[in-house]
């Protein structure tokens, strides 16, 4: 019996943190002269209120699930990779390139599979290079992966503005569009594309890979104690590169999904913050791929509500960034609270449980 209290703690603290983040965001809204309750109401309605709007959330959650794995998988090795945005862009570019080459000469399914594979390989190699630099040259992986983001954005702008540009795209430079027939279709009866299913499958596979396989065990060992892993004969370098490749491949797949299901071409809309949202999802899910599914829905809902906040309250679109930032900060703070609430301790204490973790105060300890 692995204490249910610990499990409860692992559930309550992140959700409590998000609740507390919501309260802080409400204070922020009140400070800029908006009614926090009305803002909450709109976010709820725009993100989760009914099936019609919930589909918007699902559409945004799909790439978030995939990009979150780009941070969550390497995190098991103790690496902080934040190149999600870059891997997504490179994956999207690679996918659209192969898609345009194959279009017309191959059946749609082959085109789509080709796009997915190319996107994954490109995104995977992109992040694997950060992992390799880390292992073989000692280059800080956080900074190198971030620099790779900027390089990817420059590459996107260069290709979309020049060599790959469709002359018909005037206001917003884009590549030539993919034929309608080769696009990813929607799940029947919904407006949600199949990318959502890919996201869920990727998260489930990642979970089993990390938690239930020898490979995952090796990765977690190396993440826990690199010296012990070496003594046990694990090839840490290979492990690092492979795990980074897998993470990057997921983000690359997200780029393929965005290109093949939403945009229809590669353009600057690839760079709208799914990468950074994915980092938030990964940390809020404590790098657990299954929890990332749930967190993606939450963050997807927040993203989906951005437009409504702008239209009904006149709040700038950056409101979503403030909201994400606040939640991220509070979630990180909640990490320091593990083991501090007597209620979640192994041995139940006689005193009544402390206040809900939604209002974590340092004074609530001991």
């Amino acid at each position: 019996m692995k204490s249910w209290r610990r499990t409860l703690e692992a559930f309550c603290l992140p959700f409590g943190a998000i609740l507390f983040g919501l309260i802080l965001f409400g204070i922020f809204c009140a400070a800029v002269g908006q009614n926090p309750l009305a803002v909450y109401g709109s976010i709820w309605k725009a993100g989760f209120g009914n099936w019609r709007t919930f589909q918007n959330t699902l559409i945004r959650a799909a790439p978030l699930m995939l990009t979150s794995l780009c941070t969550a998988l390497p995190a098991r090795l103790g690496l902080v990779i934040i190149g999600n945005e870059g891997a997504l862009i490179i994956g999207g570019l690679a996918a659209v390139s192969i898609g345009l080459v194959l279009a017309g000469s191959a059946p749609p399914l082959i085109v789509q599979v080709g796009m997915a594979i190319m996107g994954m390989i490109a995104g995977g190699l992109w992040i694997a290079s950060a992992g390799a630099l880390r292992h073989y040259r000692g280059v800080n992986e956080t900074i190198s992966s971030l620099l790779l983001n900027y390089i990817a954005i420059a590459l996107l702008n260069h290709l979309v503005g020049g060599p790959m540009r469709d002359p018909n795209s005037l206001n917003k430079p884009s590549t030539y569009p993919l034929p309608e027939a080769d696009m990813l279709s929607n799940i029947p009866g919904t407006r949600v594309h199949w990318g959502l299913l890919l996201g869920v499958i990727a998260c489930v596979i990642a979970y089993f890979l990390i938690q239930r396989t020898t490979f995952g065990f090796a990765a977690r060992t190396a993440g826990g104690n690199i010296r012990a892993a070496r003594i046990a004969g694990l090839s840490v370098g290979k492990l690092t590169v492979i795990v980074c490749f897998l993470g990057g491949a997921c983000a690359g797949l997200a780029g393929m999904v965005e290109v093949a299901a939403v945009q229809g071409a590669a353009n600057e809309s690839l760079n709208v913050g799914y990468g950074y949202g994915g980092i938030l999802v990964a940390f809020a899910a404590r790098h657990n791929p299954l929890a990332a599914i749930v967190m993606s829905l939450l963050v997807g809902g927040i993203l989906a509500s951005g437009g409504v906040l702008q239209r009904s309250f006149g709040l700038p679109d950056a409101t979503v960034l403030v909201f994400e930032g606040l939640i991220f900060l509070v979630v990180l703070y909640s990490d320091s609270l593990y083991g501090k609430f007597p209620f979640f301790k192994e041995k139940p204490v006689m005193s009544p449980p402390p206040p809900a973790p939604s209002a974590p105060t340092p004074t609530a300890t001991t």
């Binding site: 800029v32 902080v80 934040i82 630099l133 292992h135 073989y136 040259r137 000692g138 280059v139 800080n140 956080t142 900074i143 190198s144 971030l146 620099l147 790779l148 900027y150 390089i151 420059a154 590459l155 702008n157 260069h158 503005g161 020049g162 950074y276 980092i279 938030l280 940390f283 709040l315 700038p316 679109d317 950056a318 409101t319 979503v320 960034l321 403030v322 909201f323 994400e324 930032g325 606040l326 991220f328 900060l329 990180l332 703070y333 990490d335 320091s336 593990y338």
Partner: protein, 311 residues
């Protein structure tokens, strides 16, 4: 013949623009890298300086526009940066909280704050910082423009040696180095690790905020959401390259400023091909510098001992 002559000036123009860029573009790098240097000397990393830079740029521009005084803007930018530093300093020192992760969150939060409150300031024109014109003897406009130096650059030029002296020769500098190199020894000396790190992070963020002010009040001298393109993050790499030495931060900042000026300089003489790729020069430069200066075998000399550990 005439065309040939303009062509010749044109190519000189590229060199001139890059030389000017070393100072113009180098100024924000200088402030952010000095701020990051101070922060890292105390043993914590602040990746969030990117957000601090943006918030500083927005605050400086907004305050300058509203009060008409750019210098008030500079001070306000520093204070805004310091406030973000308080959050980072406190949060990154909680148990089990990773300073790199807090930095990422602060990038999102800081840029959110900057874009949120900066929305009304995108259109209006705010008063700019005065410049010291050293090029008035020449009648070539490009040269005159290149020799317009901002007082902020001179300020940064002065801070670098002062910070070096601070680390080497003052009691407080010793505290910072002790906390960063060996927290145990610092604790034995009776120094409060929390306070020293808090103050170092706040002071570092103050400097980064001023770096933001130089973006919006000097060069490029406007406020847009794309005004900072990763300078705050490159500064982290720059500090590694500079071996945590404030004087070398100065040289590295000039180098990065020059690299950043490459794209616009080539564009000014009509080379539009690969504009975006040339704009990526600073990132590629940073990456290559890190590849060549880092090593998997040993810690880089000069690195604060406690950097990247959880102590």
């Amino acid at each position: 013949m005439a065309a040939e002559a303009t062509q010749a000036i044109g190519w000189w123009g590229v060199l001139l623009a890059i030389a000017a860029g070393t100072m113009r573009g180098g100024t924000p790098f200088l402030f952010v890298s000095l701020g990051e240097c101070l922060t890292e000397k105390s043993g914590k990393i602040n990746l969030g300086l990117e957000g601090t830079l943006l918030t500083g740029a927005m605050t400086a521009y907004g305050v300058s526009y509203l009060t008409g005084s750019p210098w008030l803007g500079v001070i306000a930018a520093g204070i805004a940066g310091a406030l973000l530093g308080v959050i980072h300093g406190w949060l990154s020192q909680q148990p089990r909280v990773n300073d790199v992760a807090v930095g990422i969150a602060m990038i999102i939060f800081g840029s959110g704050i900057a874009f949120f409150f900066g929305k009304p300031f995108i259109q209006p024109k705010a008063p700019q910082l005065p410049t010291i014109d050293l090029g008035n003897w020449s009648d070539i406009p490009a040269l005159q423009a290149a020799l317009q130096i901002t007082p902020l650059f001179l300020l940064g030029l002065a801070i670098a040696p002062v910070m070096n002296w601070f680390f080497r020769s003052t009691r407080w500098g010793l505290f910072v180095r002790a906390v960063g190199d060996s927290p145990e020894a610092a604790r034995a000396m009776g120094v409060s690790i929390f306070k020293v790190r808090m103050l170092s992070i706040i002071a570092g963020s103050f400097l980064a905020g001023i770096g933001g002010a130089s973006l919006s009040l000097y060069y490029p001298g406007l406020w847009t959401e794309r005004i900072s393109s990763g300078q705050g993050l490159m500064a982290v790499a720059l500090v590694i390259f500079a071996r945590w030495n404030p004087i070398q931060c100065l040289w590295a900042s000039l180098l990065f400023g020059g690299a950043q000026a490459l794209g616009p300089a080539l564009q000014s003489v009509g080379i539009k091909e690969g504009y975006y790729l040339f704009n990526a020069a600073p990132y590629i430069l940073t990456l290559f510098i890190m590849i060549f200066t880092c090593s998997s075998k040993k810690m880089i000399s000069g690195a604060p001992g406690a950097l990247g550990t959880s102590s």
